[in-house]
């Protein structure tokens, strides 16, 4: 198997793990971890595409920007998690059902 095929095999696996983690768990913390795994898999696709097209410089530049964005997103997500925990006293995603209609 070529390196490229191995890359994308791993990426597919990581996507599956991430989505499974988001679907199967009730805790918001675990959901955030699942989300992180998904976005790491997405970042791997960028670096793999850069390596394959001999355009690693561009891929690295994109990736560093993505990591910076990722940090901000995680900070926002954790802030929401802390607020939810303070208001509701738990971090259970299935109990968020006050809005419906």
């Amino acid at each position: 198997m070529s390196v490229f095929a191995m890359d994308w095999y791993l990426i597919g696996l990581l996507f599956f793990v991430g989505f499974y983690c988001m679907l199967a768990s009730r805790s918001i913390v675990r959901q955030l971890i699942g989300l992180e795994i998904i976005s790491k898999a997405a970042m791997l696709t960028v670096i793999s595409a850069g390596a394959l097209t001999a355009n690693l410089v561009l891929a690295q530049a994109l990736l560093i920007t993505m990591i910076v964005i990722e940090v901000v997103v995680v900070a926002a997500g954790l802030a929401l998690l802390v607020k939810t925990f303070r208001v509701n006293g738990n971090a259970d995603i299935w109990r968020l059902d006050s809005l419906k209609g």
Binding site: T45, T53, N55, L62, T84, V87, I93, S98, G101
Partner: protein, 476 residues
Amino acid sequence: MDKGLLAYLLIPLLSAVIIPFAARSRARLADILANVTLLAGLLNLAWLALRPSVIAGGFADIPGDGFSLLLVGAVYLVGLCVTFFSAWFMEDGQANRPAYYSLILASVSAMTGVVTTTDFFTLYVFIEVLAVTSFALITTDESTKGIEGALKYFFLTFPASALIIVGISILMLSLGSLSFETLRIFMASDVPPGPVTFAAALIMLGFLIKSGVVPFHAWTPDAYQGAYAPVSAHLAGIVTKISGVYAVVKLATLLRFFDGRAAALSEMLMFLGLLSIAVGALAALRQKDFKRMLAFSSISQVGYIVLAAGLGTPLAIMGAIFHLVNHATFKTVLFLNSASLEKSAGTTDMEKLGGMEHSMPWTSWTSVIALLSTAGVPPLSGFWSKLLIILALWEAGLRGYAALALLFSLVTLAYFMVMQRKVFFGKKTQAAESAPEVGAPLLAPVVLMSALIVALGLLFPYFYAYAKMVAERILL
């Protein structure tokens, strides 16, 4: 990046940085700074596009492709209405004023970035910035509902971002470049599209989730209903439209759907558009909360834009652009009115409200104008955009789609009439007895937007010339 419009991105960002320092001891200064920044930008834009010499020349010498200029105008207009409204809506000491205005200006700046960029990666960066500012804005009043809405929004938009990233890297593999222009040239050539359309489909899927089209609409009503009242106008009026729908329309023009090179994607998009028109309208019929009903109505109106974008002919793209602008005007009016109701009567539950027109005549009549425009009653602006979309569908031979779009336009009228009768007409209820009309400053943005709805409808020939120029520039 379109250099001509870069200043509209940088100046609000600068203001957003200055506000927390300048307004540390005097919170009122934050109101003034935010309003002045946006008003100055709006006047500048009006000068750029509406000078007599530019109108006489058929809008030939405006910068860029005209589409970005129009949407920057819409962003500034809605931003100004929301900041002006919140300057009087917020009670002292209730929320952190400097942070709130900083975030609004940062989101205006990010939206300007989204509409002026010319490559997919910059688009992605600005969309993430916009998403992060929206979460913070939704939770402004720190209520349980706001946090819940923001959390649902968070967990649906970030998987969508991951899809966009995968699409971007497949585009890198197959096309070698991320600029819009390369994709347009590629789609105009005879090379088999293959993986490029796959990449475009992944990117489009991400943006469809972000715009709340029907199979992915779960977050939309919750986020709009839970958000802090003026923020829901900002969010529904412009933020989700720019972060999702704009990109879908842009991709539709880049993929040249009218050529039939990406026919499967085009059909899928049209189907999803019609589905969200239907589901949004039918779900809005049975809502009990005013804001939640408006949110479902928003899903339904987004459906019209997506349907037109999926068709992709120049006439349909004109309709989509015009409906995008109209949606910004009428949804801002309706959501700001719901915020006024919340401030005055203390609730947005339609069962508890009733007979509000006796005590709040201005709010009632601006709602009537906005809802008639949404339903597409001539001569208001919404009529023309829906007419363009339905004509384009008819012209392309899709009679069934055209008939269904027309039918659900009637359903729109029905649910808005039910709303108007329950909330504003009829006998006064207990909540209405003690509800005075809100002050003139809170009415000013709503009246301005209503005047704009009427004006866009009556001055349609001028706008038609502009939209035609835009559609020709971005398609050909």
